[in-house]
């Protein structure tokens, strides 16, 4: 296994939720993907590991920039750095430097196969809603009503979550939005914050205007089943051989669902699926996993990288 790192910065050119930031985000993605220019003929398996600022704006735009350069031939894996739900500033490390508002990429080359798996375990609740107005990562109205009011009323949110930002974020951890996609599992959007004056919702990735969304729910059982599925998908390319190790990018929202005991159970299940192999990982504000298609950004999921 060998590794090469790169960093792209300066993505924040105004409020990160706004479309005006997109060109800078995309450019940052294109810059870090340059790390793949290195060729390693002795190690035919490769993956690009991405660590991004989870508060920088539309993360999918970073991945579009990466895909511009990397193309379909390189799987992507990684996650968005968080700040333990303070939603203020995150940090990214590259070599011996600490960055903010940055993307760090590490190209991994291996003689053995590299597997990536991703699942979330959330279920749709109730009737879908139409995103009647949105801009970037900000949802303004759902079914022509203020998005925050619809969100709070339909989910019967507790009183503190209706006025206090931190209480709202804790509540939203277990109540993401689901976007209908072609795949069986809808795309999940973590509702990170609320604007109590404008009555809007702020998500970690873009919520397209015109889309259909559902409120999602999950429990310990469904989340742990997703852990098993993600791990199994990651290890499939290894053809039954034990992995050298597993790296997990776990959404911080799943921690809220599992609780302290559930987290220990999840780690134990991961370890049991790869007996004897080291398991490492961290909680994220969004996860990256692209093995097919041209997308790759996920919310409130578990992404597992298996190194064979």
């Amino acid at each position: 296994l060998s590794c090469s790192c790169s960093v792209g910065t300066g993505s924040r050119h105004g409020p990160p939720s706004q479309p005006a930031c997109r060109p800078a985000l995309r450019q940052a993605g294109q810059e870090v993907a340059g790390v793949l220019e290195r060729e390693d003929p002795d190690r035919s398996h490769r993956v690009l590991l991405l660590l991004t600022d989870g508060l920088a704006g539309d993360q999918q735009e970073i991945l579009r920039g990466v895909y511009d350069i990397a193309g379909f031939a390189v799987p992507l894996v990684g996650g968005c750095a968080g700040d333990d739900l303070r939603m203020r500033q995150t940090a990214q490390l590259c070599d011996d430097e600490v960055h903010t508002d940055a993307v760090v990429a590490a190209g991994l080359w291996s003689t053995g196969p590299l597997g990536v798996g991703v699942h979330h375990g959330w279920r749709q609740v109730g009737e879908p809603m139409l995103v009647t107005s949105s801009s970037g990562t900000t949802v303004t109205t759902l079914d022509d009503q203020p998005a925050l009011d619809v969100y709070l009323d339909r989910l019967d949110a507790p009183e503190p979550a209706r006025t206090d930002p931190e209480s709202f974020t804790r509540f939203a951890l277990t109540h993401p939005l689901g976007l209908r996609r072609r795949a069986d599992e809808p795309d999940i959007r973590f509702v990170g914050e609320a604007d109590f004056e404008a009555r809007t919702l702020g998500c970690i990735a873009a919520v397209p205007q015109g889309g259909l969304v559902w409120f999602m729910e999950g429990d310990e059982q469904s989340v742990l089943e997703a852990t098993d599925a993600a791990c199994a998908d990651a290890m499939r390319p290894l053809d039954g051989r034990p992995p050298l190790g597993l790296v997990a990018f776990d959404c911080i929202a799943r921690r809220g669902v599992l609780g302290g005991e559930g987290i220990r159970t999840e780690i134990a299940r991961l370890a049991a699926l790869a007996p004897g192999s080291p398991v490492a990982g961290f909680y994220t504000y969004g996860e990256i996993a692209r093995t097919s298609g041209a997308g790759g950004f996920h919310n409130q999921t578990l992404v597992v990288l298996a190194v064979g």
């Binding site: 479309p19 579009r64 209908r180 072609r182 205007q209 889309g211 097919s292 298609g293 041209a294």
Partner: protein, 546 residues
């Protein structure tokens, strides 16, 4: 199930439309269309092919698109092909309607599953939406261009209005020129501007009189420009707009600008009346800059206004000079009229009140002086009346040149200084009275501006079909006045000692012009010579016959 599938397709189409709506121009719409279609269909590869060429692609490293493979996939609606590094790939291709009827195809490819019929329907709808969005972007781009053009025209109009206002408010010429230079730079952007005028003290040289965007040092460097050199010098010499692109490669341009990598220059002639007197020049250091036809039109309008300002300023200057001369004239005339009148009134009053105290000799001397003063006053009034008349010569007839000269000299012999030299026996066609008056003015002028007791010579000869009457005296022409100014009203040399208001030569010039003759003046050594040219009778007949 059908409802769910229909709902999903509708939702995807709505998202697709929203994504295209955010793209700013045609190229961005096409790029977003391919990108979002690929993401929606979870396709690893996507491409827009126009006439077989890859216009936009997704999934391939830049410049490494397999064009042959993509064209093969584009030829059929659904196919299966082997893509290097991806393996077996299921493809789908649909038409993109093009405004120019060129062949456009949207191609997607994915490794997961073949495209279903529903997905093909969605893809066709996406291609249709994409075509509409492309058409809309093209229309918007056209509208933007139109709006930009209108905005440019509006700015030009506002700028010109301000300049016209400053001209009509009689702002100083320097301020008007500065406004034109600033306006030129702001209208075309990223440019420097200067106005040059022909300098009368250095024939063939243009001098900077206003500029914008230059340092003082630079202006010193480029202050003077030879007519014919650079864009400005050529615009002046050729009296037309001169545009120089690729300034650094052109010969005959200004070296200072060439060394500083000026990219382009545009110059236009500036007129005073119908005479070119200067240039308006702009230039830019911006790499690859050229001036568009719209910008050239804007500069032509500014140059027109510079010409208007110059002509207006000249007119204003003449008006102010005429007003000053009129004021001076009134002051001088009142003084000239009052002086002899006061003398005459004084003498008459003396004779009236103290007649018994005045001796016969004194009475005779006083009456004689009063008469002379009266004559002087009469002459002054005649001169003023003559100067006010428009056309002075009325009766043109044939007359002997000798008669004209003799009549003019009659009564002047007693001065002893006026000498009649040889006068040719030729006949001239003229108004004899006017010709005599002109000759009289010239002789009076010679007496007034030559040292006492020096001779004044009058002669006449034939030359090239004309009779030339010369009045020559010792002296120097006033250095501060040009020949043209000598004949202007109320202009007198600073050394003038004779009484008068500066109308003599002006009247002579007008009389001369009215009878179709010419009058000029030259300094010949220590002598001043005025020459009146009258047409010979034969020459005029010949000219009339011809």
């Amino acid at each position: 199930v059908e409802t769910r599938i229909g709902l999903w397709a509708t939702q995807q189409l709505a998202e697709f439309l929203a994504a295209l709506f955010e793209a700013e121009d045609e190229a961005a719409v096409l790029r977003a269309g391919v990108e979002r279609a690929a993401e929606t269909m979870e396709a690893e590869i996507g491409a827009a092919l126009i006439e077989g060429m890859v216009e936009v692609s997704r999934g391939f490293r830049p410049g490494r698109e397999p064009i042959t493979l993509l064209n093969w996939a584009a030829a059929v609606a659904r196919a299966e092909m082997e893509v290097p590094d991806l393996g077996v790939c299921f493809t789908a291709a649909v038409d993109i309607e093009r405004h120019d009827e060129s062949a456009g195809r949207l191609v997607l490819g994915r490794s997961s599953t073949p495209f279903s019929a529903v997905e093909m329907g969605l893809l066709r709808n996406m291609a249709r939406v994409l075509a509409l969005a492309l058409r809309s972007a093209r229309t918007v781009a056209g509208d933007r261009l139109l709006l930009a053009s209108i905005q440019e025209r509006k700015e030009l109009l506002e700028r010109l209005t301000r300049i016209v206002r400053s001209i009509s408010h009689r702002a100083p010429l320097e301020d008007v020129f500065d406004a034109i230079c600033v306006g030129a730079c702001e209208l075309v952007g990223n440019s420097v501007a200067l106005i040059r005028r022909l300098d009368e003290s250095r024939p063939g040289m243009l001098r900077v009189v206003s500029s914008h965007g230059f340092s003082d040092y630079e202006i010193e460097e480029v202050e003077w420009l030879e007519v014919g050199q650079g864009a400005g010098g050529r615009a002046f010499a050729e009296e037309r707009m001169v545009v120089i692109d690729d300034y650094s490669d052109k010969p005959g341009v200004v070296e200072h600008f060439q060394k500083r990598d000026l990219q382009c220059a545009l110059a236009l002639p500036v007129y005073e009346g119908d005479r070119v007197v200067g240039t308006l020049t702009i230039g830019s250091y911006e790499a690859g800059r050229t001036y568009s036809p719209a910008e050239q039109d804007a500069m032509a309008a500014l140059a027109e206004h510079a010409s208007l300002a110059l002509s207006d300023a000249r007119l204003l200057q003449q008006m102010r000079e005429a007003q000053a001369a009129k004021d001076l004239f009134l002051a001088m005339v009142s003084h000239e009229l009052k002086t002899p009148l006061t003398v005459m009134m004084g003498m008459l009053r003396t004779l009236e009140t103290r007649d018994e105290d005045v001796s016969p000799e004194e009475r005779k001397a006083m009456l004689s002086a009063a008469y002379r003063r009266g004559q002087e006053l009469l002459g002054l009034i005649d001169r003023l009346l003559q100067g006010a008349k428009g056309e002075l010569a009325s009766t043109v007839t044939n007359a002997l040149l000798t008669d004209v000269v003799n009549d003019a000299l009659d009564g002047l012999h007693h001065l002893g200084r006026v000498a009649r030299r040889k006068v040719a026996e030729v006949t001239v066609t003229t108004d004899p009275q006017a010709a005599r008056a002109v000759l009289g003015v010239l002789i009076e002028n010679a007496i007034a501006h030559s040292p006492p007791d020096t001779p004044i010579e009058v002669s006449g000869h034939a030359d090239m079909g004309e009779a030339v009457l010369s009045v020559r005296n010792r002296g120097l022409l006033p250095p501060e006045l040009s020949v043209t100014e000598l004949f202007a009203p109320f202009r007198r040399g600073s050394d003038a000692t004779s009484p008068g208001v500066g109308l003599g030569l002006y009247i002579a010039a007008r009389l001369t012009a009215s009878m179709g003759a010419s009058l000029n003046c030259v300094q010949e050594g220590d002598q001043v010579c005025f020459r009146l040219r009258l047409p010979l009778a034969e020459a005029r007949q010949t000219s009339t016959s011809a």
